[in-house]
Structure formats: structure tokens, C-alpha cells
Symmetry: D2
Subunit: 394 residues, 4 copies
């Protein structure tokens, strides 16, 4: 390729920092099929976005995303705004002929996600790529887990457990931040972290969650109003208000091939900071993953000699594991942000080779449909509810 | 006490062996308030029961349990038969004026369990004791976990996770043993191992599971008929038959004080041999237990200095931990069967002191009602279903 | 066999309790080739030994061990006295024609151990059995580890690490008990727990430690004199005295085939209660064991596919693992005292079949020679020192 | 500061890549007191170094390091060449008035290291900074461990264990690469990974290793000559040659305050990829670290209530842990290369504030003296040997 791909990133919160690391590191650590330039970062506050550009190394800053996506010199639009603006920006960018990377969750509603998937399908016909930012797929251990299932390492999937446990809401006197109000946050634990475990389950099994029965719950229903914000939390005042999003979601899903999955997404698992855990049980073996031990994979092989069976802790840091050879020697650990570099690698490779990298917008839509079905089930006394019309994974 | 308590054990399967260890070891390792004699073991097959008496150290054997419970020289009747005969034997023994220890689950139906709890209540007025054999309560780490919650170590319980995972049915070509047929087994994973996690949850929180929403599932619906039995499994023939009990049960429960509990009981968790795990999240901390690491407890203290918080692995083997001082020095591990000795200790102490040891038949009935509600919920599209009229814990 | 083997146990401390469990449980849980009777327990204090007989289930008690070993109705003498009387009693018992089980360490000096090994060799010609009580060899995971090495699972042994870490002396103000004085205790960490790791290393590798270089250390050199004894420790007075045994021993050994072993025995590993750990590195794999997780074994197989290698945690609780089939189903844990039952099983089997069970007195002598060489090396500026004339392992 | 600090990096192997990440990331993730520019990278091969400049983002490349350190526009010289050229380059750079960061080990001999420490001392008087690249000090968990010891969390240090275990030489038929020959590699496991554990022990305890007794060993003494190089290893030919560096070093050290340390550095710990482990036992508690689980720290507090003591696994990922607030929210893991960013942070802060960041060249020299004493002890039958004249830590 003669000209490097030029990227515009819309948004600059925590995810903006993580995406910036990906854009900065991937071209230096991997042998990419195309160059990459961090061209423009876009935000509403002119001073803040200029500072972000300077800090993170974007060549320019801008305040009007519509102007930026109209520019001819931009190839990729990376959307890291809050979920309520994903649809508008991503669709506009696709219609402007850009490749799009959109942070998860794809949207705040199924209707929006459907419109985005439609736009992506039309854009694909023009050779454009649209990808959702479920970066945990690209933790090397998760990719390896998926590959091992595909290779038959555990046989037929018979049961799955997926949980995402955090604890930052455990204190019932913690204040009512914007994340705890429906209007501002869109959703609670279900949409934020539940989305990850639904996506990961579908990714590693290659199956869709077709129906669910579940309960979403607001564990602490009233909290003191927020005084001053500090990090994710803040100080409390003496007045109280209603929490209007869920704190936890417990649901059971059924996969295309019939296996049951137990899901838990919670912000009330005291002591669990970022515990995304997955366990896939097959008739020939099992695989387990824990994001708090993200360089490792646990593998049980039922075909091994009976007196030597057990869970093998595979350290996924060898050169023959996915993505690892670009980094360090065996036993040298990777961390949270490496997935953002791997995402850039696969996106750029997809663009350069003309093949759509996963997860597509259709896959993002499938996740949205499952989350929506959970909400409907919960509102309907936990009755089993179909995730309408899942779209083939691509 | 002048005369030792004389015990008759009805039944002699695997549980007979485990109970025998309890009766044999407890008086030698603990300073009991009353002597104990292993007087009679009762079984239908005259030769087999005589051999069991000889092997396990019972003074006599007999084949007619009605005759045995009519004897004046018997003080305690220990019921370790299959669940379908618990009600008849235990009620008869109580009416004959005996103290009764009945293996879990209390019965195969709520109706039977109600009759047993009624009989126990009447017997209690006459000074008799009736106890259910949920021995996992008496793993020192579990007792300590319960005590710590009662002491306020984790504050208010906000969420609970309880699972019991085994894998002995993972092979879809494993044969159709008697355990997989409703008529012979009564129930599957729900009644067998689900009972343990419902009881343990109620025990450690001091609350009842008041309602449930759940799904019970037969993962492998047809299996080859059994040729020759080998251990829990056996050889397969070429004909197939229907599995009529559940392989797995996934359900959500709500405790008296409102907290949600996620439950999983399964025989399809490949690689998990006997993985009963419990995690109780409170607003001040959390406690975790894993039966495959049964000498330990994990404790998270949210009131510790922020930069020193984490899960503490407490080795529950010190002299100041429950039951431990009678055994070995710190760091010397206990195993599965020690709970059966502790059960004898508490039963004999209860009889000698005239105080009812837990779990009472009323508590056993409460478990049965929860299991029954799970079955009804599952049959009713997983709708939330109340466990009717829980009985106060003692 | 027509008549059961009748046992006399000399001594009744903590080890007396543990050995009693072995004698009590083994015949009831295992199908032994000969019956066993707990005939006599011997101690100096007439009241205390009578109480011990009653508590632990010995038919008689006695105060004169010489009279007891002279009796015709005694077949096995089990020596659980302090180490300074092992030689006298064991040799007398062997000369009286008895089979002998002697608790570890075999003796307090190489000279005594040599005399005992000689007596055992002469007795062996008369068909008698002499065995040393290194029960950790009979933790199923340790036996399995040894078997796997013998089967070639890890190839050629290239390096070994063995440590035994406790922490009961960590407090520098803990009192000067009899265990901390040379005259009363004989030795410190080296002789007490160092003996275990030397024996286990020789057992699992099938090789002798032929030379050592090491340092033994008294970390806290003066302690308050003991007021009142409480468990292993006690209350302190205001006067101080000298600690005259070692608190820790750090040494390197060389095995017969040339591999180096690092040894650590310490009572100052804060937080480690009973942490005997072993790691054997071979050119085809590795095996690890930790007594604080005694039902498990860690196995690394270098011949597995590169991207699936890792340490496999084998739960050594399956029916096809050593000793396990006599106990409980897979996943049901064993504890500390089970090794004492397994010791009885192997001793009785050895007597019944006329084959010497390991560890022989010659093996116990080998351990003693290694410990002696460590003391001599430490006194000689840690110079490499040969363990004189190791005796073939059997 | 008006002008950013301009960096020249000499060398471009694996360490060049890791250092480049540090220079690239630190200014973007941390709020540094001075700007940083990646000005020049220097290597002998003109094409290769130009490619490295392009890949890693250095503005220029050059082939003559003497010319580069003579330039006025260079402020910092970062030395990542093999150890045999450290002294020459670092001293020249210091004499040219530059701040110097020198990769570990400081030098290949004590004499060189002494000359470097002298040069650094003279340069310090002129306001220059000289720092050694022991980056493992800056894993947040290691820094936190050091801080906790300094805060008295474990009381007086009574014993230490430090090991660095790798396994890339386990195969006795692996080829004789340049790393296994004294002339090319300088040293084996002792100098390469032993250096890390000596430094880390001195760092966290704040004490020097004053004397040692040890053994260094070449486990596989002859290996096939190298055919083609592949990664750390390569293909074997049919001829054999002598391995002339050590494969493993086992030594005991004594700290300034008297505590013993056991050290192990080995490339033969089958299955251990990069297992640097440290355990510090004090009279009030203990702390443990494992580089294969680098986001965690294990802390035992002997002053906690007796029935709640245990090792607490502190996830060192909270904003109040060292370095962490610049990265991600709690529970989001860091990896191997983050230490290189933290090194840049502390170096730049040291330069900007005029305070010498640790480890100084004097500290690097102390490590060298300990390694040298180990070699001399090993050559002298493991006799205790003093590390001559340790230099105060700063």
C-alpha cells in the first residue's frame, strides 16, 4: 500500500485512551500490511480534545465529527463515544465511505443496532469494513480457547458458564452517579458487562444464544445523590434518589445446538475486580478462562490416561500462541491493553486484504438481541424468551 | 451418663461406610458427653449385612428394621437407606421413641418430608432428637464461614453464588444406570447435589430460599442400556433407553432478606469431580468455599486498608477453628469423612444436653420445598415460584 | 491367616494418636491379608496410659515395654516414643522376634541407626519385617508421583527442589520449650522436618543423596524461659536462655546420578503451616507436590503439543490412584491421617506375604547419614561433605 | 522545562524493543515533569539499525555511538548493548555529560562495574543521573512489597527465599548457542537471571547480601553444535562441544542484619517459563511475589485475629498502588513491558528534580560483587565468601 491508513477517533474518555494505545503500539510491534496514522481526534470540548490529542499523540484535534468524516483524507473512523451516539456516527461514517471500528456495545437498542448492521452490510458491498470493539476476543488465551474448541479439543459443547463480576457498587451508601440512571447510562450491568460474556460465549462456541430466561435486579434501589465525582464513584450528599438501572443480571441461555449457558453479570461481587470467567464443558474435555489471570487457559482433556487427567494451566505466552510472537519471550506477561493492539492488527489486515474481521456489526446486533431478550424475560416473570432472528455470524 | 448410647444403622451402601467411620472415630477423637456403641446394622440381604457388620465393626446384624427399632436397647436410629424409605423408617423410629439421624435428602417428596417434620416435632416434645445428614455443614471451613457471617464479617448479604459440579455423566455413551431413571432414583442432579447447595446457602446465611425461577435439563436424553455395572457407571449394550431424571439444574433463588442466589447443580461439568463452591457477597466483605479445597476458606475484608485488600486464604486447620482441636496440629489436613465424625459429635451432644442439633427435620423439609419449587418453575416456563410455607429454621 | 496379628504400641504422644487411627481404620477400610488386633499400649505413667488405651481403643495398657515385647502373643511392636529411645526398644523388639514399625526419624545418631539397621538385617533373615514411619510416602499423590517417575513420565531427573516450611517459631519472644534445647530434643528443624524431605527425595527419585553442602542456623538465639506449656508453645517468663538447636537448615545435595537438590527445612516461614513442597525437573517433564494441597499433583509433560503444554493439576482421588479405591468416590478428599492407614496396609501386607515394605531401616539409616553430613558441612564452613556409605535402598 | 529531553539508545536487540516501548508509552500515559524525544538509535549494521529506527519510532539512526554521545543535542544515553560493552559506553557517556540508563547486569566483571560506579559518582557531582535497568523493581507489586516492608507490615526480616526459574535449556540435545559459551555470553544463569534476584532481595529488604556460600553447575556439559539459529535455541548438528557457562546456581546469602537468603537461578526448571519468585518472612508477617502472576502480591499478617489469618492475594491494580493510576481501572492487568515505562518515569523525574533514581550504579556494583562472590565460593568447595566492600545503597 502506498498511503498509510489515516484514522479519526471520535470520543476521548477511558476508551479513547485504550484505543490510542492500540493505534500507537500495533504498527510498532506488528508487521502490518498497511501503515497507520493517528490523524484526528474529535470531541466537543475544544480545549479538552486538544489536550487529549497532545497527550495521546493524535496529529490534529477537531470538535465536529460530521466535518471530520466528510474529509477525503480519513480512511478509518473509530467510535468511542457513549453508546447513545454510536448509531448516528457509525452509520454516517459508513455512508461517507469510511471503514468503521465501533466500541461495544454496538448500540443502546435493537432498533439502532439493526440500522447499523444494515448500513454495514451495504458498506461491505462497497468494500468497507465495520467491526465492533469486543477486544476481549483478542486476549491471546481467549483466541486460543476458541481455536481449541474449533479443533475439537473438547468435543461437543454440552454446557457453558459465563460470568462477569465486579464490585464497585457494593457499598450501599455509594452515590448515585450518572451510570446508575437509565436516561444517562442506557443500561446497567447487563448492557455494560453482560454484553461481553454474551459475545464471548457466542464467539468461542460459534453458536448463537437463541433464547433466554432471566432476572435483572437493582440490588440497592436508592442511593445518596452525588456530591463531587471521584473516579467511578464520588462523594455522597444527604438526599437520596432512585437507581434506575440494573446492578446484576442472572440468566440462562440456550445455544443453537441446544446446550445451556448460565450467565451472571454483576457489580456486587465483593472482592471481584474484573472477573470475567468462562467455562466450556464438552464431551471430550473442558476449557476455562479468567480475565484476572488473563495470560492463562485451563484445559481438561478427557482423552488423556485416566490417572493423569486434570486441568492443565496453559500459559498462553509462547510464540506459537495467537498474537504472542510479536511481543516478548515465553513467560513474559501481557496485560489488558494488548487486546486493543490486536484489534488494530486484525482491522488493518481486514482492510488490506478485503476480508471482514470479526466481530461484525451483525455479531454486535446478535448480542444486542440477546440482552433485549433478557430484559423482556425479566419483565415477564422470567419466562423463556427468544432473541429474535439472530443474524448468521458471517 | 451411665449407659452408652446404642446405635442401630439401617442401610449399608456407600453412606453406610461413611456413617460407620463417624460412629467409629468420633468417640475416640472427641471427648463426647456420652458413650456410643455401634450395636446393630440392618439390611435385607442376610449375608451381605453380616459381612458389613464384620467389616465396619457393628456388634450385630439384622434384616428386619421394624424389629430393631422396637428393641429397648437401641437409642439412636441412623437411616442411610435410599430416599424412598426414609419417611417410613424415620417416622416409625421416632414413634418408637428413638433419636433419629436421617441421611439427606430428607425424603423424595414434600409430602413425605412434611410428615417427617411433624413426627419430629411431636418427638421433640418427648425429648427426642431428629437430625438430617447434611454433613457438609460440618466441614470446619463451612462452619467457620457461617460463624463469620453471623459475627458480621461481611456485613449484609447482598448476593450469593452456589454451585455443585460433577462430571461423571459427561460421556453421552455412558450407560443408563438405575440413577438415571425416575422410578429408581427419584431425582437427578437437583435432588442429589442441588439439595446440598440449597441447604448450605440457607445454613450459612440463616435465611430461607423463598422463591425460585429455574430450568432443569436432561442433557443426554437417550443412553445405551446398561450391561454390567462398574462403580457409578458400567458397560453399555447396543439398545438405547430414555433418561428420565435431570442431568443439570440451573436456578435463581431469592432469600428472605431479598438477596438473589444463583444455583447450579450439574453432572456435566467436565473435569469437576466434586466441586461444591459457595460465594457470599456482603456489603462489608465476601466469603468463598470450595469443597475440592475443603481445608480452606477465602475471605475478603472491605474494611481493610485499601492497598492491602484481597482475598485471604484462611487454612481452617488451627486449634481455634471449629472441630479442629480434636484432630491434628495446624496445617495437617482433614478430609471428606471428618464431617461424619463431627455429625456424631453434635448429635450425641444434642442428645446428652437436650438441645436439638441442626439441621432439624424442619430444615430438611425447607430444602425439599425449594427443590419442589424448582421443578414446578421449570415445568411452568421458569416462572418465579414460591417454596410454600417455609418452616422456621429451628 | 488363622490368628490376627496382635500389636503393641510403645508410646502415646501425638504420634500415638495418629498411629492408633491407622490401626483402627485400615482393617475396616481395606481388605487386609491378615487380621489386626490393637492389643497393648505401653507408657510410663500408669494412669495416663490406661486412659490412652480407653480413648484410642487398645485392649490393654502396660507400663513396662520390656515385659510386653517378651510376650508370645505380640506380633508387631510399633515404636512411637521420642527418638532417643528408638534404638533400644526397636532392637530389643527385633531380637525378641517381633515385626517392628518405628516412627521417624529412625534414631538420634548415625551410630544408633546403624545398630538398628544391623538388627533389622539379622531379623530379616528370620522373616521379620522392620519399617520406618515416613508416612508422607503414602500420601496417594506422593506414591503416584514416585510411580510416574518410575514410568518415565518426566524422563531423566535433572534438578530437584524440596522444602519443608513451618512457622511456629516465628515469634522471637516465644518461649524456650524442650524442643529448642539440644539435650531434650536431639535436633531442631533439620532432624524433625528436614528428615522428611531427604527421605521423600530419595524415595521418589530412587537415588541417594550422596553429598551435601549446607548451613544450619539458629535464627533466634535467645528466648524467654518457659512459664506454662500451651500446645507446642507456652507462656514466657522474664529470664532468657540459649536456644541450642537449629531453627532452619539450608543445604544443597547431590544425587547418585549427579542431579543437584536444593533443600530447605525451616520453622520460620511466616504463614506456612505445614508446607512440604517437592518439585522434580526432568528432561521430559516435571512433577510437583505440596502437602498443604495433598490430594493434588502437578504434572508438566514436555512431550505434549507445544501450544497445549502446562502444569496439569491431577486430583489424586480416583479409584485407579494408589490406595484410593478403598476410600471414597473421585473428588472426595483424603487428609493427613490416611497415610497412617496406608502404612498399616503395607506393613501387614509385607508381613503376610513375606516381602519387606519400604522404607526399611537401611533407608532410615540413609536419611540419618545425610542429616549428619549436613551438620558436619555446616560446622566446616559449608564445605561439600559425603554422606558416608549409603546403604542400597532395599 | 522548555526543551524536551532527547534520548539516544545504543543497541537494538530484544531489550531495545522493550526500552523503546518504555520511551514511547511513558510520556503518553504519565504526566512527566519533562518532555522526552526518541532522537537517535545506534547500531553497527547500517541497514538493520535504520529499520529498527523506523519500526520502533526513533527519529534518526546512526552507527557510531562515540559520535552520538558527543552531540550536544543528546541528554540521555540508554545502553542496551551486550554486557561486555556496557562499561566503555556508559563511562564515555557519563564523561560526555549525559545522563545514563544502563541495562542490567551493570557489567561483566567487578572491575568494570567499579569503574562505572566511580564514573557515576563523579558525574553525580555534576548533576548527572546514572541508573541501572533492573526493571522488575518497578512491577507495581514489587514496589508495593518493598513499601510494605518499609512500613513495617512484616516486622523484622528473618528469612528470605528468592528464585528465578526458567526451562529453555531442559532438552539435553538442545544446541550449543552463543549463550552457552563463556567467551560470547560472559556468564550463564547466575549472571543473567541470578542478578535479578540478588538485586530484588537487596531492593525490598534495604539490606546488602554480605556473604554467600554456593554452587554453580553446568547440568548438561556437552551439547550438539548449533546448525541454524531459531529464537533462543536452534537446530543441532552431529558434532558436540563443551558448555562453558553455568546452567544453574544455588546459593545461600547472609543479609546485613543477619537473615539468611536461599537463592536459586536455573534454566532447568521444566515447565517454569519465567518464574521469578520471592518470599520474605518477618516476625510480624510475610510477603510473596511471583513474576508469572505479576499483578498480585501475597501478604500474611500475623497480627490479624488468629482464626482469620492467611495469605491475602492483593491485586495490585488499584489507583492507590504504585504507578497504577496512570493506567487502567482496578482489575485491569498490566504486563511485562510496563516496568520499562515506569523506569522512564522515574529516570525523567530524577533528572527533572535533581534526585538520583534507584538503582544507582553503586547498587548495580553491589549485585556484581555478590555474583562474583558466588563464583569464588563455588570454586572454593562452597566455602562462605564475602562480597567485598558493598557500597551503601545510595
Amino acid at each position: 500500500m502506498t498511503r498509510p491508513l489515516r484514522v479519526a477517533m471520535i470520543g476521548y474518555g477511558f476508551m479513547g485512551s485504550a484505543h490510542s494505545v492500540g493505534w500507537r503500539q500495533a504498527p510498532r510491534m506488528f508487521d502490518l500490511p498497511a501503515g497507520v496514522e493517528m490523524a484526528v481526534i474529535v470531541g466537543r470540548n475544544v480545549g479538552a480534545v486538544a489536550e487529549a490529542a497532545d497527550t495521546w499523540g493524535w496529529a490534529e484535534s477537531a470538535t465536529d465529527w460530521r466535518e471530520v468524516i466528510a474529509r477525503d483524507d480519513i480512511d478509518i473512523v473509530d467510535v468511542v463515544t457513549p453508546g447513545d451516539s454510536h448509531a448516528e456516527i457509525a452509520i454516517a461514517a459508513l455512508e461517507a465511505g469510511k471503514h468503521v471500528l465501533c466500541e461495544k456495545p454496538l448500540a443502546n437498542s435493537v432498533a439502532e443496532a439493526e440500522a447499523m448492521a444494515d448500513a454495514a452490510a451495504r458498506a461491505a458491498e462497497r468494500g468497507q469494513v465495520a467491526m465492533v470493539g469486543f477486544t476481549y476476543r483478542r486476549v491471546p488465551a481467549v483466541t486460543h480457547l476458541r481455536d481449541m474448541i474449533a479443533q475439537g479439543a473438547i468435543g461437543r459443547v454440552q454446557q457453558v458458564r459465563a460470568a462477569y463480576r465486579q464490585d464497585w457498587l457494593v457499598d450501599p451508601e455509594g452515590p448515585l452517579t450518572w451510570r446508575l440512571t437509565k436516561e444517562t447510562a442506557g443500561s446497567g450491568a447487563l448492557g455494560d458487562i453482560g454484553a461481553h460474556i454474551v459475545d464471548m460465549t457466542q464467539f468461542v462456541t460459534g453458536q448463537n444464544v437463541e433464547a433466554v430466561s432471566g432476572t435483572i435486579e437493582t440490588i440497592v434501589k436508592r442511593r445518596p445523590l452525588l456530591g463531587e465525582r471521584v473516579g467511578l464513584l464520588g462523594t455522597a450528599t444527604e438526599e437520596y434518589g432512585d437507581v434506575t438501572v440494573d446492578d446484576a443480571a442472572l440468566f440462562t441461555g440456550r445455544l443453537s445446538d441446544g446446550a445451556l449457558v448460565s450467565f451472571e453479570a454483576t457489580r456486587f461481587a465483593t472482592g471481584r475486580k474484573n472477573a470475567l470467567t468462562l467455562e466450556v464443558s464438552g464431551d471430550k474435555g473442558a476449557l476455562r478462562f479468567d480475565l484476572e489471570d488473563l495470560n492463562a487457559l485451563q484445559y481438561y482433556d478427557r482423552t488423556a490416561p485416566a490417572d493423569r487427567q486434570g486441568f492443565t494451566k496453559i500459559l498462553v505466552t509462547d510464540a506459537d500462541h495467537p498474537y504472542v510472537s510479536a511481543w516478548w519471550p515465553a513467560g513474559h506477561m501481557l496485560g489488558y491493553e494488548h487486546g486493543f493492539s490486536h484489534q488494530v492488527v486484525d482491522l488493518v489486515t481486514g482492510i488490506a486484504t478485503g476480508t471482514a474481521p470479526h466481530p461484525t456489526f451483525a455479531e454486535g446486533l446478535n448480542v444486542q438481541r440477546v440482552l433485549d431478550a433478557v430484559e423482556r424475560s425479566s419483565a415477564n416473570d422470567s419466562a423463556w424468551t427468544r432473541a429474535t432472528a439472530p443474524v448468521p455470524a458471517s
